[in-house]
């Protein structure tokens, strides 16, 4: 009997699957209706997929929480004013689980567009999934705001309707170099040491080129294998080269070890800027070795972006307000993924308001012309040749300082800074 039950269960599921489809096809037209009646529209539908399961679940959840908080804020105020329709429209978010896998991303985005009639789309988390979604969004002429995707490569694809919120990987260490140049014009020799992983490598290559263009001399450009814990040889080389600053790193563990060993060597460096590790709170566990180590981060809860601190147009709530609201709602500190999610919504909102319409082409125009500051920082998109790539947003540089316990402070850019940059070698001076 049991066997029959199990079998009928599975069969009924197959059948439901098939029947569902038939119903679907009845209710939808094969092409997207571009002429939705303006007056019948009550909601702006925004579709996205979230990785509720799988390896991207944590980051994706935070991103989606940020987005939901934005939608809540907007709806509390009655929605987004669309001039062409002469009224405020509330926002309706529709999402599915993409299981952190490419398998169903396109299927779900097609569904969001054709079945759920999404007006606009937000990307999944991660560059890989975003790239899959973009193929679909682009072919249906839908705007896709890409957050949680830092790859440069997506924007080489000739997309017209994909817009990036994050600073792309090619600029991760650029701001650290800018900071160095600004503060210490005499520093000319940089050592770049990086983990032999793709992300770190592309960041290091871009940093090398940028530093050279800015008159720096790269005295060491060397990679180390993932999982390296002994940097003695590398540090000896750096010592001999007379480098005045070290930039590079890769992931958390190697970054931490690198910071420790540079500290032990007591090199007179003006800057030690490392990827990933310093931006993570756990970094302070290495104690004084963390002191004055800096690193780039997309965003930090401490950043100080508000109408008062920026020089351009500010849109939406300040970063402080965002942190407060987020903590109230979710009882945890927002990460940059969460802030990115909220900002994706904000950018869309601003574009719709500027366009005064829901028409894709008009909103696209508004996005192309956008030049605003938000809680996430500056937002402006490249026009060509990498259309849609983020060019306004700057990484913030965090530095571990003592006041009196170890604290992560933001030292760059000025608009976001919570403290001044302190040179790395200060800790060796009594």
């Amino acid at each position: 009997m049991k066997k029959y039950i199990a079998l009928s269960l599975s069969l009924s599921l197959i059948l439901t699957g098939c029947f569902n489809k038939k119903e679907e096809s009845k209710t939808q037209s094969p092409q997207i209706s571009k002429t939705e009646k303006a007056s019948s529209k009550d909601y702006i539908v925004i579709g996205y997929t979230e990785s509720k399961t799988g390896k991207l679940a944590t980051e994706s959840r935070e991103q989606s929480q940020g987005l939901k908080l934005w939608a809540e804020d907007v709806n509390k105020n009655g929605g987004i004013y669309v001039k062409a329709l002469g009224k405020k429209l509330k926002v309706k978010l529709i999402s599915y689980d993409d299981e952190s896998s490419k398998d169903r991303v396109q299927q779900l985005y097609t569904r969001l567009i054709t079945e759920d009639k999404a007006d606009f789309l937000i990307s999944p988390y991660s560059s890989g999934l975003t790239a899959s979604a973009a193929v679909v969004s682009e072919q249906y002429g839908k705007i896709l705001i890409a957050t949680g995707a830092a790859s440069d490569k997506i924007f080489k694809k000739g997309y017209e309707l994909v817009y990036q919120i994050y600073t792309p990987a090619s600029r991760y260490l650029k701001d650290a170099i800018d900071l160095l140049k600004e503060k210490y014009p005499n520093v000319k020799k940089i050592a770049i040491v990086y983990e032999n992983s793709n992300f770190a490598k592309s960041v290091a290559n871009a940093a090398k080129k940028y530093a050279k263009d800015n008159g720096f001399k790269i005295v060491i450009f060397e990679s180390y294998e993932p999982g390296t814990s002994d940097f003695t040889t590398l540090i000896n080389k750096i010592k001999k080269s007379g480098a005045q600053a070290i930039i590079g790193g890769g992931h958390f563990t190697d970054g931490e070890a690198l910071a420790k060993q540079i500290n032990d060597s007591k090199l007179p460096l003006k800057m030690v800027a490392i990827l990933v590790a310093p931006a993570i709170d756990k970094f302070k566990e290495i104690g004084d070795a963390a002191l004055y180590v800096s690193g780039p981060s997309q965003w930090e809860p401490k950043v100080n972006y508000s109408p008062k601190t920026v020089s351009g147009t500010f849109f939406g709530i300040s970063s402080k307000e965002f942190v407060k609201k987020y903590e109230e709602k979710y009882h945890e500190k927002p990460s940059y993924h969460a802030a990115g999610g909220y900002t994706a919504g904000l950018v869309l909102q601003k574009a719709i308001e500027d366009a005064a319409s829901l028409d894709t082409q008009k909103v696209k125009q508004a996005l192309d012309n956008m030049d605003i500051y938000t809680l996430f920082g500056h937002i402006r998109f490249e026009k060509a040749p990498y259309h849609g790539r983020q060019e306004g947003h700057k990484m913030v540089i965090v530095e571990w300082q003592k006041n009196p316990s170890l604290e992560k402070e933001i030292v760059y850019p000025k608009e976001a800074a919570t403290n001044n940059y302190i040179p790395y070698d200060k800790k060796f001076k009594k």
Binding site: L13, C18, S197, N198
Partner: protein
């Protein structure tokens, strides 16, 4: 009716159903859903050729999916090859690699073979991760211009769909002919008792290697189509062990070593997942629920759907295969 023919007909019917439904309705949603279904069917059939017929369980079979994906992608990305040619090259290359690998790993049996295949998958993944030419960990991304040659991205998605249907159908027919050939008989003898088969004059090494090559050919083409359609490829999605496990599961769910089994297994697995994934009520619990359902099936129908039907419904016993 001949035993296998009936199963072949039903299987063909199922594949054609998923192929033609979206075309008739000209519905992109149905196309996307059916694409996944057909892809799963194709993968399950390919794995069944090895796992079902020879008894060798390849836990890393997704490696050929990835190799095919990367070959196709690279040929299109750097050298602008026509898609069909690139797919064929991907299939052949993957089969050749399988041939070379098979020579070594097919000497192992049981769990050792399974572990070796996982190792191969991880090794290839690590290799690709470190090859700049292949985009490293970040992967490669198509320029939308590539789709222009296929009438724009919209048409490219339809083209991918027709191709996946065609490949799946061919895989089915090939698997039918293997099973009902002398070659297939040799494979089954290997499955039952490899040493005895060898003693009786079956060239087990050659047979196993050929089967391994065949079962690597189709996943490569399927991988090529999948990543062409996705417009990007990266090692994580190309060599995902989860997909390997899913493939094994689908074959076992449907019925190991049968013609209809992998088809039914893939459809059941995919439809359960899909229905839960987009259902208002269950979309947040889909993994739990599909897990329970699958567990029930494995517990109560261990011989797979086809085996179960054969056992319970007398008239089917002699015609279902």
């Amino acid at each position: 009716m001949k035993k296998g023919l009936f199963s072949l007909l039903i299987s063909t019917f199922i594949i054609l159903y998923f192929l033609f439904l979206p075309i008739v309705k000209s519905s992109p949603i149905l196309r996307e859903a059916s694409f996944t279904t057909l892809m799963y069917i194709g993968l399950a059939i390919s794995l069944n050729i090895l796992m079902g017929f020879t008894g060798y369980v390849s836990f890393g079979h997704v490696v050929f999916f990835g190799i095919g994906g990367y070959t196709t992608f690279t040929l299109l990305y750097y050298y602008n090859f026509p898609l069909i040619l690139a797919l064929l090259i991907a299939g052949i290359l993957s089969a050749l690699i399988a041939g070379l690998l098979g020579f070594v790993v097919l000497n192992l049996r049981g769990a050792y073979f399974a572990i070796a295949t996982i190792g191969i998958n991880e090794a290839v993944k690590a290799l690709v991760n470190n090859l700049d030419f292949l985009g490293g960990a970040e992967g490669l991304f198509f320029n939308m211009k590539i789709y222009k040659a296929y009438g724009g991205p919209q048409n490219a998605l339809w083209l991918s769909f027709y191709l996946i249907g065609l490949v799946t159908l061919i895989a089915l027919i090939v698997s039918y002919f293997i099973k009902h050939s002398k070659f297939g008989l040799g494979l089954f003898s290997i499955r039952e008792d490899e040493d005895a088969a060898s003693t009786l004059g079956v060239n087990t090494k050659l047979f196993k290697t050929l089967t391994f090559m065949l079962s690597a050919f189709f996943p490569a083409i399927i991988g090529g189509i999948f990543f062409f359609k996705n417009g990007s490829i990266d090692p994580q999605s190309a060599f995902s062990l989860t997909k390997s496990v899913e493939m094994i599961f689908m074959v076992m769910l449907g019925g190991l070593g049968t013609i209809l089994g992998p088809v039914l297994g893939a459809v059941t697995y995919d439809k359960i997942k899909e229905a839960l994934l987009v259902s208002e009520t269950f979309k947040n619990l889909h993994l739990t629920i599909s897990g329970i359902i699958l567990l029930l099936i494995v517990l109560f129908v261990p011989e797979g759907i086809v085996g179960f039907l054969r056992k319970k419904i007398k008239p089917l016993k002699n015609i279902l295969d």
